[in-house]
């Protein structure tokens, strides 16, 4: 390889990497981040997007370049070079994906841990009220332990019981015995949801929170999160659950402490008197 081609190759690799990093950092493919989980998630997303862009455009570049540079010109005869293998090269491109995968794996483990994914479920708020045997039976969604990592005081978190059925979500607040079709939560407060389905499998998904957990019949699941931005966000059922699956939506209202208290008081009175 001559000096100028080497310089050209190195130059294009550097340009490619810069382009990839720029894309990952500046092209936004995600909705607003409205939970503690979401900010961590977006960090991972940017890293993966950068790495992915570098690899993708690199590969496309190589293929297109080969097709143009090594195309058979009209009237040209003969075969290509008889190269069957090249051990150093093959070791190089075993190493590239291995290193990328190791980096991605370690990084996403770190993200997973920060989301609370590695914590055992015993830290979840509901278990204060539950017996040991049922603890083993409950399965946690990601972030099940996040309350513990972001907030030492478990009693702080608001327990909510979620029931899913064809084709609606029902939210029950044990404090005040409120039953609601809309999820109301105060901003910056950890929420701990215990979810179960009455019929088929559903899934609780709030894209702005970047969390999703299946709601399973006969198998309670736990999902914890801490909203960070006030506003209204959609709750979407993400698991095919029947003809009206596409219409199985609700809303989560994240409001400031006062509004939430007002909502809570207004509704708890109603349900206390009615029940």
């Amino acid at each position: 390889m001559s000096k100028s081609t080497a310089a050209l190759a190195i130059g294009s690799i550097i340009t490619l990497c810069l382009l990839g990093i720029w894309i990952g950092q500046n092209v936004n493919f995600l909705p607003v981040d409205a939970s503690t989980n979401a900010t961590v998630y977006d960090e991972l997303f940017k890293a993966l997007f950068s790495i992915g862009s570098i690899l993708f455009f690199g590969m496309v570049g190589l293929v297109v370049y080969s097709l143009v540079r090594f195309r058979r010109k009209p009237g040209e005869k003969g075969d290509g070079l008889a190269i069957e293998d090249n051990l150093p090269l093959e070791i190089l491109w075993t190493a590239i994906p291995t290193i990328v995968i190791l980096f991605v794996g370690l990084y996403s483990y770190d993200i997973y841990d920060r989301m609370g994914g590695m914590q055992s479920l015993q830290t979840s708020a509901h278990h204060d009220h539950q017996e040991m045997e049922s603890i083993q039976k409950i399965w946690g969604g990601i972030g099940s332990g996040s309350i513990d990592s972001t907030n030492k005081n478990l009693k702080d978190s608001i327990p909510i019981e979620v029931t899913a059925m064809q084709f609606a979500f029902l939210f029950h607040y044990p404090e005040g015995d409120i039953l609601s079709g809309e999820l109301h939560v105060p901003v910056d407060k950890p929420i701990s949801m215990r979810m179960e389905s009455k019929d088929v499998i559903h899934a609780f998904w709030v894209p702005e929170f970047r969390i999703k957990q299946d709601v399973i019949p006969g198998q309670p699941t736990i999902l914890n999160f801490t909203p960070t931005k006030t506003g209204k966000y959609p709750i979407i059922c993400a698991e095919l659950c029947g003809p009206y699956h596409g219409g199985m939506r609700s809303t989560v209202v994240v409001e400031n402490e006062n509004d939430y208290q007002a909502w809570h008081e207004k509704n708890s009175k109603v349900s206390v008197t009615s029940s």
């Binding site: 493919f29 909705p31 998630y41 997303f45 993966l48 993708f56 590969m59 496309v60 293929v63 080969s66 097709l67 090594f70 195309r71 058979r72 005869k77 003969g78 075969d79 290509g80 070079l81 008889a82 190269i83 069957e84 293998d85 090249n86 093959e90 491109w93 075993t94 590239i96 994906p97 291995t98 990328v100 995968i101 991605v104 794996g105 996403s108 483990y109 993200i111 997973y112 989301m115 994914g117 399965w139 019929d199 899934a203 998904w205 894209p207 970047r210 999703k212 957990q213 299946d214 399973i216 006969g218 699941t221 959609p234 059922c237 993400a238 095919l240 029947g242 003809p243 596409g246 219409g247």
Partner: protein, 563 residues
């Protein structure tokens, strides 16, 4: 078992076979006829599955459910997925090209078990018709191709049961095929032909058949239990009777993750045959290719739970499956670099076969990258069951496997029919397919990340624009099949004669007439010890300059083909 079948041994069965076009409708034992039967039958189901896909995309032009009733929509998407996987991609990348090519590649006159082979094919049309007929009986299954209970237990039973029966038949056919391929590759090799001299497609089919034979029975068992839950009200997967719905998911994905490799490993093999021929270079890194296929086979069994990250799995299990899944990218990545190295420094004829193969590389790389992202638990909890996943696997199965099927048709059509396809129409077909495909599926990445779940007939109005782009893409894809169909039908009658070896290729199927005679060779099978020996002698007059018939061997061919 005989090591190689002498030409005279099956003279009798030869006479029992009908001749001419009728043999394609008969219980033929000829592996080439069976291969074509698989291909044409698969393509007909592809057209049906494609019509269903168009119906889905029409429904999604508007954000409300207005084109068809909601339960019909779910039936359509279930049929679409099931047909495309079990009646199009799996039978074609394995059954069609495998049957046609593997006996040539191992130097045999037919498959090890010709009768089993014919049975395996003839299970497919009835199974497919059964599946489609369920729509007209009492409504087809409507729980998706994954058929998760309890939804599959609570939706109308008739359609679901027919679906199970049909998938069981197709699974059985696939197991028969797998056993046949393993036996043929390991036992029918021509004397003197070593395993490490086989064309790469043989390794791909060997690996795939191992996956088929070990994992499909698990699916069969699972579906039988599911059918008990439906008809006999047993409680294996029914939570109201103490069953566990997540166990079904483990069993289902224990088959269905390997199934995705059953759809793509043979495609890897086909690309490895096509690229060296048209770039006039040896396949780069034969040995690493073989080892990476086998690594994919082993790892493919250890990753199934990446489809269940939100199902409620213990933390350690999520971590294990994240790591195992990510590592599949290593052997996969090696193969892609090897293909690019095969192109590098070649003299590449830019024809339809090459374009579709390179389209495959580009599309699959994107699908692989989104796959590795999805393998990361923290990433997947947001993207799971959204249009992002739909985009991922269509980049793999359409952008990957289907592109390779088209590439293979352009490459082997002259062998199948003895006539050439029109390459300009082929390029038009490629351009339309590539543009339509990317328009259809690229926007779905964004849709999924921004909140559009999969398998819905209605959606938030903010997603209208990208859904309409996607539907336009689907329309272009639908249109792209027209020039292709015209080309394959018209060329069969009026295409220029191809001769035995129009690409001057070195693999054994080209060293006989086009189309080949019954039992493949007039004389003894050639011993091809270097199927990729291109460019060995750059100074000498090369293969391309004198198109050979199989009698007039050029110098360089005599080097390769030693008796």
């Amino acid at each position: 078992m005989t090591i190689s079948i002498p030409p005279s041994s099956s003279d009798q069965s030869k006479k029992l076979q009908p001749e001419g076009w009728l043999r394609y409708f008969s219980f033929s034992l000829d592996h080439k006829v069976i291969g074509i039967q698989y291909l044409v039958c698969g393509f007909i189901f592809y057209l049906i599955g494609g019509a269903l896909a168009s119906a889905i995309r029409i429904e999604l032009v508007s954000p409300i459910s207005d084109f068809m009733p909601r339960d019909v929509y779910n039936q359509v998407l279930t049929l679409h997925g099931t047909i495309m996987i079990f009646l199009w991609i799996v039978p074609v990348v394995n059954g069609a090209f495998g049957n046609y090519l593997i006996p040539f590649y191992v130097g045999a006159r037919d498959m090890a078990f010709p009768r089993l082979n014919a049975v395996a094919f003839w299970m497919i049309p009835p199974a497919g018709l059964l599946l489609i007929s369920s729509y007209f009986i009492n409504g087809a299954a409507q729980s998706g191709w994954t058929a998760y209970p309890p939804l599959s237990i609570t939706t109308p039973a008739a359609g679901q049961l027919i679906w199970i029966l049909s998938v069981l038949l197709l699974g059985g056919s696939s197991i028969f095929g797998g056993i046949n391929f393993i036996a043929t590759i390991l036992k029918l090799r021509r004397p003197g032909l070593r395993l490490m001299q086989l064309p790469m497609y043989c390794w791909a089919i060997l690996g795939t058949s191992i996956l088929v034979v070990l994992s499909t029975p698990v699916l069969a068992g699972t579906l039988v239990l599911l059918s008990f839950d439906i008809v006999a009200h047993t409680g294996f997967f029914n939570p109201t009777l103490g069953g566990n719905v997540v166990v079904y998911q483990h069993l289902f994905w224990f088959y269905s993750h390997p199934a995705v490799y059953i759809m793509v490993l043979p495609a890897f093999g086909l690309v490895s045959e096509i690229l060296p021929v048209h770039s006039r270079k040896p396949l780069f890194g034969y040995t690493t290719m073989v080892y990476s296929i086998m690594a994919i086979v082993v790892l493919g069994f250890l990753v199934w739970a990446h489809h269940m990250f939100t199902s409620g799995t213990p933390p350690w299990m999520r971590l294990f499956f994240t790591i195992a899944t990510s590592f599949i990218a290593v052997p996969t990545g090696i193969k892609f670099f090897n293909w690019v190295a095969t192109l590098w420094g070649g003299k590449i004829s830019i024809n339809s076969a090459v374009l579709f193969s390179c389209g495959f590389i580009v599309n699959f790389v994107l699908g692989g990258i989104t796959g590795v992202a999805l393998a990361q638990v923290p990433f997947d909890v947001h993207a799971h069951d959204t249009y992002f996943v739909v985009a991922h696997f269509h980049y793999i199965v359409y952008g990957g496997s289907v592109f390779v099927i088209f590439s293979s048709i352009y490459h082997w059509y002259p062998k199948f029919t003895g006539r050439m396809l029109n390459d300009s129409i082929g390029k038009l077909h490629f351009a339309l397919t590539f543009i339509g495909f990317n328009l259809c599926f690229a926007p779905q990445h964004w849709l999924g990340l921004n909140g559009m779940p999969r398998r819905v007939a209605e959606y938030d109005p903010q997603f209208i624009f990208f859904n309409q782009i996607s539907s336009v893409g689907a329309l272009i894809m639908a249109i792209s099949t027209l020039p292709f169909l015209w080309n394959v039908i018209n060329s069969a009658f009026t295409g220029p004669l191809a001769g035995d070896n129009p690409w001057s290729a070195l693999t054994p199927e080209w060293l006989t007439s086009s189309p080949p005679p019954i039992e493949n060779w007039e004389g003894e099978a050639p011993l091809v010890s270097k199927p990729y020996g291109y460019g060995e002698n750059p100074e000498k007059p090369n293969l391309t300059s004198n198109i050979l018939s199989d009698q007039s061997n050029s110098d360089s061919e005599e080097d390769e083909v030693k008796k």
